[in-house]
Structures are given as C-alpha cells and as structure tokens.
C-alpha cells in the first residue's frame, strides 16, 4: 500500500506513524463526563485498549480542560490549566495525550496551540507552574482516540481484528463540533466533509449513514440556557438521520451522547419519535472486537441500544 504513495504523502504518513512502532503507551485524559455521568465510556475505552494491545495511562491528577466555560470567563486560566496537564504527561514521559471527548479535544488542542505559538504565553504558563515546581516543555500532542484508531492501529488492522462484524447495521456518525471545528485547531480531517467515523463504522462491518446532521451541533452547552432549544437541535439532527435509514448513532463525544441519548424523547413533540440508540465510539468498536456486551454499560443508556443489537443478532 505504501508503495503507491507519493513522496510527500509518505512523509506525512511516516510523521503520523512515527511513534506507533515502538510506542504503545499513551497519556490518557478521560475528561470529567467519562468519570461522572458517562462511566460506561471510560470502562469501554479501557476494555477496548486491552483488545488493541495499547496501554492508556490515565493522567489522574489532571484537572478539567475547562471546556468553553472557563474560556468564557478567563482565557488565561483555561490555557494554564491545560499546561499543567501537559506538564504532568511530560513528567511521566508521555507526550502523546489521548482524549475520548470531542470537546476536550478541541479545547485542549486550542490551548496547546496558543502555548506553542507564543513564547509570551508559554512563559506566563511556566511562571505559574513554577510555583509548584512544574514545567511544560511543549512536547505534547493531543489526539482523540478516533484518530489513534486510524493513525496508529490502522483501518486494515482494525478490521482484521473484528470477531463480531456489525452485519451491516446502519449507523449514523455524529462527530460533535469540537473534534472538527475550528479547522485551524483540529485540522486532522476536513471539517466540512469528515469521514473518519464512517471509515471506522465500515471497518467493523457496519454501514455508515450519510446525512446532513453529522457535523452539526447537538446543543449540549446551552441545555440549561433556554427551554427547548438544545432539545430541538437534537430532534432536528436525529430526524434527518432516521429519515436516511439510520438504526443507531455513534459519537466520539460524551457530551453529544448525553444530549442525543437524553433529549430525543423530549424532542419527539416537535420532530416526531426517533428513538435512535446512541453508542459511544469505543463501545461499538469494542463490541465488534469481541468484548462481551454486558461489560460495555449498554444498560446505562436511556434509549436501550440492546434492542437493535438483538434484532440484528449481534447479541443474544
């Protein structure tokens, strides 16, 4: 396969893979939601890592990435909180930090970009970290598990590991804004026409559903702001997915998961019933790789995903 690559593609390709051959240990930043209301995401990520033969070393003293909210009040605090996390990763000899939340990915990458492109900001961060003896050298790269699956494991390898293919289950990808936009922060793939989730769905034997809602917003961050708005954003996107024949949804973002899983029922009044079960990315991949369904926390979802899995004879 690599022989067909042009020289510059080979260069980028080898850049992306440079660490994969020796290094199978990653710094792991689960984020608050995977530790609080979406523990099933944390657990299925660890089970998936086992299957993949990689070691995710949790940065247990890391703080919240601050999301958009700390940024709304004080950009400097948001940036330095993340610098502290990166310093911890470096101290453990881990410069590859893996996330499992679209929002964490976007905000942590933005903070890192700001630090790396300005000596002034880096100095500001280090002068504060210095107060408790920490220092960020600037070596960390933040990536989502989704990108790790494609860059470090590889789609061919992934599909060769599948023991329980999804039988053509029609899965709608829901990216979550911050893993793709703004492009200058993420830039791993086209934000207008991403296909990493589709590629993973295909690799594990599902059939990706193409629909206009896949790169749109679920409204999570404004759920408490005004009645019905976020609910409607969920309803609108799930309606399109359902009308395009989706049987389930997959998302790399636990916030999107909370919104999609939690609000479809309330959205039915305006958008009709959709009832699409929503999988966390690692749940569905782990299932295909043979992790027993009972271990994936599928019973924690409000819209029970086991019904469609039984129908499609994927679980008993």
């Amino acid at each position: 396969m690599s022989s067909t690559l042009l020289p510059e593609e080979q260069a980028t390709d080898s850049h992306r893979h440079s660490k994969s051959s020796q290094m199978r240990r990653y710094g792991f930043f689960p984020g608050c939601v995977a530790k609080e209301s979406c523990k099933e995401l944390f657990n299925s990520t660890m089970l998936l890592a086992d299957k993949l033969g990689i070691e995710l070393i949790e940065l247990t003293a890391a703080s919240c990435c601050g999301a958009s909210v700390v940024n709304d009040t004080n950009r400097d605090i948001a940036r330095v909180l993340n610098a502290r996390t990166y310093a911890q990763a470096e101290a453990l000899g881990l410069d590859d930090v893996i996330t499992i939340c679209s929002t964490c990915t976007g905000h942590m990458r933005a903070a890192n970009m700001e630090l790396l492109e300005s000596e002034e900001r880096m100095n500001q961060a280090n002068s504060i970290l210095g107060k408790f003896g920490a220092k960020y050298e600037g070596s960390v790269m933040v990536r989502h598990l989704l990108w790790l699956l494609i860059d470090d494991i590889g789609l061919d390898k992934l599909s060769s590991m599948v023991v329980r293919p999804l039988n053509g289950l029609r899965v709608a990808p829901f990216y979550g804004c911050h893993i793709i936009r703004p492009e200058k922060v993420n830039g791993w793939e086209s934000a207008r026409n991403p296909h990493s989730l589709e590629d993973v769905i295909t690799a594990i034997g599902g059939e990706p559903v193409d629909y206009a809602g896949k790169t749109r917003c679920c409204g999570f961050h404004i759920q408490l702001e005004k009645d019905g708005v976020a609910t409607s954003m969920v309803g609108q996107n799930m309606r399109i997915a359902k009308d395009r024949g989706a049987e389930a949804v997959i998302t790399p973002c636990p916030l999107c998961h909370l919104a999609l899983d939690g609000y479809q029922q309330d959205a039915a009044a305006r958008w009709g019933r959709t009832d699409l079960p929503t999988f966390h990315l690692p749940q569905l991949v782990a299932l295909a790789l043979g992790v027993p369904a009972e271990k994936l926390g599928l019973n924690k979802h409000l819209i029970d995903p086991r019904t469609i899995l039984v129908e499609r004879e994927l679980i008993a």
Binding site: C32, V33, K35, E36, S37, C38, T60, A61, A62, S63, C64, G66, A67, S68, V69, V70, N71, D72, T73, N74, R75, D76, I77, V80, L81, R84, I128, K131, F132, A134, C177, H178, R181, P182, E183, R192, A212, R216, C217, G219, F220, H221, I222, L224, E225, K226, D227, G228, V229, A230, S232, M233, Q236, G262, Y263, Q265, D266, K300, H301, L302
Partner: protein, 318 residues
Amino acid sequence: MAQVKLDIFRYDEAVDAVPHRDTVEVDVPVTMTVLDALETAKAEVDGSISFRRSCRSAICGSCSMNINGVTGLACKTPCKSVMNDEGVIQIDPMPNFQPMKDLVVHMDPFWDKYTRLKPYLQPADRDEDHETERRVSPADMKKLVDAANCVMCATCYALCPVVSVDPSFAGPAAIAYAYRFIEDVRDGKKKERLAQINEDYLWLCAHCYACSYCPKHVDPHDRIVDVKRATIQEGVMMDHPGPRHALVVNKTIKKTGMLAETEVIQGTVGIFNIRGLAKITPLAIRMAVKGKMPPPFLRPIPKVDEVRTIFESLEVPT
C-alpha cells in the same frame, strides 16, 4: 472554457406554491466564479434568474448563497473548486431565511437584529466639548478591526444551528458587531449594550464554530466569547443562567479540579428555581433510573491546590 451546469433552486413567492429546479448550462472558464457563471446564465440563457450581487469582489456582502450545500459568497468561490465530474454545481438560497425569489431571500430578521443593537457610536459626551475628532490609539483600534470587517453577508447567520431552531437568538453577526461598539473607547453605552445583547440571548451560542466560515475572518464565535467576558467583568445580568453557569463551573473546577456536574446544574438553574428544576427533573429521573446520575459530591483531584494556585494567579479581582 468548459461546460458548467448550474442546478438552480427556482421559486417566486408571488406565483409559485412550491419551488422547482432548473439546470442551466453555460460556457465559462472554470477559474471564473460561481457568480460569474450565474451572471452568464442570466445574460445568455434565462433573464429571469434572480440573485443579489453588487461588488463582485467580496466587499458588499450581497451574494451569499448555498453552493453544493455550503453557505458562502458566490463571488469568492471559483467554479473549479465546487463543480463535480459532470460539471454540475448545486445552487440554493441561504438556509435560515425565507426564500423570496430564486436565490434572493427575505433579509429582514437579520437586519432587525442589527438594528436592535444600535449599530452606531453613542459617545458619552457631546461633540461640542471636543477640540478635535475623538482619537483612538492604534492599539485600541486593533481590537476592533476584525469585527469591523463584517460585510453583513449573513453567511454565519445562515450557518448557525441555534438560529435554525430558535430565531429569537441574536445570531453571530449581530453579536460580533455589538462587540465592535462595546469595545470602542469612544462609546458611552457599554453597560446598556451588554444588557441588550444578554436579553437577545448572547448565552444561547452553542459554541459550535459553524460561523468560523465567515468569509471576512470576523470569527464571530470568538467575538461572542469576548462579549461574554465583558458581561462578567462589568457585572451585567449576573442573575441570568449564562453568567451563573460560567461562574459555578469556574467555582467547582477551582474547588475540585473537575467540573462537578450536579453542582453545575443546580448552580445554573438555581436551587430555589422550582419551575426550572421541575423541567429538568423528568430527565434527571430517567437518568437516575439508569444509574446515570453524576455523583452529588466530587472528591478533589490529587494536588488540587495547584489548580487553585492557577486560578488565584490569574483571577482579576472584581
């Protein structure tokens, strides 16, 4: 020269019950813009095709439309970059607006939102009291130029998912333009402006960055964040859910290092806001049944005092 096939949305609100589509073929160099192709179609094939345009160089903001489902300026989009192998380009009016005729839409809601924000300078003192014009230092001006570059093309407004479900949201362009006056040192109505923009649902921005496709690099989302920070700094509307949410999140992170979901929900909705809490209760119960409730109290992360040091080093006392 090549054949470009424009697949155009056609509709006239005065006569048509439903829209239809026409395919119009024109011969234009593929390096020409979609607007050029439309002009050629109008001049040579069908004079009734309607669209707005003036400057043809991304300055007037008239020609925003959907090109293959992506909103943008037709005069800034080369045919080459959007035509498929058969030379087809799909053209539709901007979403989030009522179509009027073909690619022309009713812009009124968009202008109304600007007007409400009084998009002109309101100085604190009288002109007569000044010897010269009011001067602005280059540093102060620098903060405004990005936002002032807005050409009011409404691309961002058309892309905004919040506008699409709730038209009462001021939308990205109007808030970015409000910022341009809020941060203008000559303006005397900062607090009033902030209060107004908060009333117009500043905090309803969902942080989705769809508006980052602004053709003039206004980056409305980042201006919205600037206005939120100004709101908190000036202590305006602190009883609204938006500022309350921001403050309680900061508080829980400072205390535990983590975002404590339970406390954040209570802090945002207000623990004494029975109506507000009642509304989220059905979902809360559904989640509790599934064992999905976040823990009521969080154990702080290891070395949480470091997090506090970061907050304390950077918090500007208010």
